[in-house]
């Protein structure tokens, strides 16, 4: 029981934090920085507990007597929680300046952010479809509001409008799918579904397969896979920077936590039936994502579109899971980590710049001569771009490497080749930014490196990316490329039945 309380602490802390901030936002005198600090404090506390849990947990049902077997705690969920929490912490810390520079942030922002995180964490823990649905809704609904938080900007409002309508539309498919699954199995516990699948023939569960497909639609929508990608670019561009960063770094990962749980274990027996659809989606996602990315004129749009491409890679691995690839799942987790680091860094620099100089719109042209103005920032940005492009010696390369490895293990050499082709195209749009930074003279004078928590974190991200790409086990306690993979595969080991 004490152990269970311990396990629930991270979630409880987040919820308490959300309530706390919700109430305190009524107090007008509190400075914004303090809200941020409090939020970060709650998140950090939660993160620390999660880290400890990660060391000790194997596979556990929280409060089994009360929650039945709905609340699962294993290394996978803990790992994902660690990612969300760090994503949120990094978002908040890196954007510290940005919050100060914009007058529309207040306490509720942080409360909503915590609610959203709570939803994602719940999603990682859930062992039941309705809980999953409600968690997704919780994470999404709060995120909708966050997207539209900038009430000075029509774009922000437009983004929110689109996100709400399309997100709700997509959400309906999930619950429809759940309903169909329930209709067949008579239960929404993942365990029961698994048992059912193990004892029945395929033709008895047509409805179950249909339900699985509809659930898939929602999940694909939320991660921004083509052809459900249309919202991504608009919403990313429209959102305030911290929210874009938050979305890019957390929500996608959260959805993958449930995707992995569903398709790696519980739906595994019937997953191969729809895997061809996943393959098509993966190909389409890669293609459309790269097409969109090369034609974006805004930097944020490019990053948004390229995030579609990154989803495409993970879908390759997801497809490989259905063909029995044993590396695919850890490849996805590794890729998520690598994308997480790179995206945090890239968006971090954008928002840092946006907070620094109001006049910057952060189009491509604003980066002309950036390297001569801020050499260290440019170096960091270069590292992020290289990592996103999958250039060797960054973590992004290893991420892609594992993905392609899983595809080849699954016997899909052409698919891997296609992925590599897309990676090749992505070189173009990422290097375009590097080119802009280095190839043009700077109009502005050289600036000093501003030592602040934001910049230090950005530099730390860059170092981690490099370390993740080339790091070995030489230095203990700092997980390099090898260590991260170990973590991923350890986490995956615990989700089995």
């Amino acid at each position: 029981m004490i152990w269970d309380l311990y396990l629930v602490m991270p979630l409880a802390l987040i919820f308490i934090g959300a309530l706390f901030l919700m109430l305190f936002s009524l107090v007008q005198k509190v400075e914004l920085a303090n809200y941020n600090l409090v939020t970060v404090a709650f998140l950090t506390l939660s993160l620390i507990i999660e880290l400890i849990i990660f060391q000790n947990v194997e596979h556990d049902y929280l409060f089994e007597t009360i929650f039945a077997k709905m609340f699962i705690v294993d290394k996978l969920s803990t790992l994902f929680n660690i990612l969300f929490l760090s994503g949120a912490i990094l978002t908040l810390l890196i954007n510290n300046n940005y919050f100060k520079s914009r007058d529309y942030y207040n306490g509720e922002f942080f409360a909503l952010l915590l609610f959203s995180i709570f939803g994602m964490m719940m999603l990682a823990h859930t062992n039941e479809l309705i809980t999953a649905f409600i968690s997704i809704e919780l994470a999404s609904i709060t995120l909708y509001v966050l997207v539209g938080y900038n009430h000075h900007s029509l774009k922000s409002s437009e983004a929110m409008l689109k996100y709400i309508i399309l997100g709700s539309l997509a959400g309906v498919f999930f619950i429809l799918g759940v309903a169909l699954v329930y209709g067949v199995v008579g239960s929404t516990y993942l365990g029961d579904i698994y048992t059912y699948l193990a004892h029945h023939q395929n033709d008895e569960m047509t409805l179950l397969i249909v339900g699985m497909m509809f659930m898939m639609v929602t999940l694909l929508f939320k991660i921004g896979a083509a052809p459900f990608h249309s919202w991504v670019v608009d919403v990313y561009i429209g959102s305030p920077f911290p929210v874009t960063m938050f979305m890019a770094t957390t929500l996608k990962i959260a959805i993958f936590s449930i995707l992995l749980r569903l398709f790696l274990v519980d739906f595994a027996p019937i997953y191969p039936i729809i895997s061809e659809i996943i393959k098509a989606v993966a190909i389409l996602t890669l293609l459309i994502g790269s097409l969109l990315a090369i034609s974006q004129t805004q930097l944020k749009g490019m990053l948004a579109a390229s995030s579609i491409v990154h989803v495409g890679y993970m879908l390759i691995a997801l497809y490989a899971i259905s063909l029995g690839s044993s590396f695919a799942a850890s490849a996805i987790i590794f890729y998520l980590i690598s994308y997480f680091l790179s995206a945090v860094g890239a968006f971090g620099i954008l928002s840092f710049l946006a907070s620094d100089e109001e006049k910057r719109h952060l189009s491509f042209d604003d980066f002309k001569g950036f390297a001569h103005e801020r050499p260290y920032m440019a170096a960091a940005m270069t590292i992020f771009m290289l990592s996103l492009a999958g250039f060797p010696s960054t973590i992004g390369f290893l991420g892609k490497f594992y993905i392609f490895m899983s595809a080849i293990e699954a016997g899909e050499i052409l698919l891997a080749g296609f992925g590599i082709m897309i990676a090749f195209i992505s070189i173009y749009y990422y290097f375009k930014l590097i080119a802009l930074m280095y190839f043009y003279p700077s109009a502005n004078p050289k600036k000093k490196f501003p030592f602040s928590i934001s910049t230090l974190l950005i530099v730390a991200m860059a170092l981690m990316i490099v370390w993740g790409g080339i790091g070995t086990g030489l230095i203990p306690f700092i997980a390099g490329a090898d260590g991260l993979l170990t973590i991923a595969s350890e986490a995956l080991k615990t989700i089995g039945k």
């Binding site: 250039f391 060797p392 080849i408 080749g417 590599i420 080119a435 070995t472 993979l485």
Partner: protein
Amino acid sequence: MQHLLSMILFLPLLVAFTMGIFRVSIETLRMVTFGSSLMVLLFAVVVTSYFNVEGGMQFVHNSSWISHYGINYSIGLDAISLLLLLLIALLMPLIFLAIWEEQRKGYFYNLLLLQAGISGVIMAQDLILFYLFWESMLLPIFIMIGSYGYGMRHFNAMKIIIMTVFGSMSMLLAIIYLGYTHYTTVGFWSFELSNLAQLAFDSKTSILLAGAFLLAFAIKIPLFGFHTWMAPAYSSSPTAIVVVLSAIMAKLGVYGLYRFGFTLFEIPLGFYTPYVILLCLIGIVFYSIHAIMQRDLKRIFAFSSGAHLSLITLGLFMTNIYAWSGGLYLLATHAIASAGIFLMIGMLGRRTQNIQIAHLGGIASIAPRFAFFFAFFALAITGVPGTGGFVAELLIIVGAFKYHFWVGVVAAMTMLGAILFIFWTLQRTLFGTTQEVTKHFGDLSAIEIGILTPLVIILLITGIFPSLLLDFFDASLSTNLEAFQGGVK
């Protein structure tokens, strides 16, 4: 001793990062980089002195990197790698001397990174490690062409990166496939070259795999048809980069073919041999003729490089001892000669701000030393006897005739190819009357002569006493050739 290679590899990186973090002044930076490049040269010389000519792969160091996939930090040297390592170690101090006056710090950082990348490519024995360095060395080149280059530098920088990355991506796919096959057939992961070389494939697969590798190297070399990045990149590059591009980078394509292509794919390469040889032969003629009407010195010698690299590749693919020795010999001597010529074009450009042939002329009458060195390197490129190029071309031609008569005839055309444009170039550049831009052309300074003289001496020694160098890698080469021919049979 064991870590000597690692020191060669990481010293430039270490220097670059330390200097970068402490934001040192340009004077310090210049001194330290030059010093580090001398240190690397010293290390390389020490390695050479301990090198056993008969010994195959040496100085092997192997430590685990990504244990899950059996990827190791695995480095080592054989005679051919050592040759390339010596080349880069020798050229870097000269390049740093050549850019001594440079005020932009980026030059030094990028060159240090480049040196590390190239050394890594030369030493790597693990395919993933190799790929890592292979790609990484592109970045400094990209940034330097784009930042400090000339002409349509942005476009050309993008072009070189796009085209070369295209090749390497295909190679990556093949590498992954190889590694996975090793896992399924042998039971554990490994990307170690020596392990992967043991694998057997059905012929279709191996042909595809070999093709993927070949594509990467063909673009880097570049063979005919994959070459359109070459002239633009050369003409846009700053001196330091163009030297590295022509002297080292292009050779790495051939080296890659030798080290990886021939070790991994003895038989499937046979499938490609006729096509590659055809491309090489076309290249020899095509590049030479193409160079005739170029107006820019760098472009002319870019095509000249292309022709020679085609010849080197030709030598490699004919797989007899003459052609192989000749190819590797040409690899070394052409590296030196083209480094010399491009360094000189850099010096010329610094004086005149203009390397369009139409605006030059009359240099010989006011700057005889410049003219001498320039003509020497140009002639060395044409393979005049007494310089190493002649020996190499002779060996390749003999090897080509051994392979097939008509191949030999076209290979012999290199003798004609280079002179077609080089003498014309010399005429328009050095001779005749002075023009506006060459009116006040200063002769070479002592430092510049100091940079160029070692190259001249090396070229002469390699030309007059070829046995010195040929004997050095003869043993390695014969062993590999036997292994290769054994594999084919």
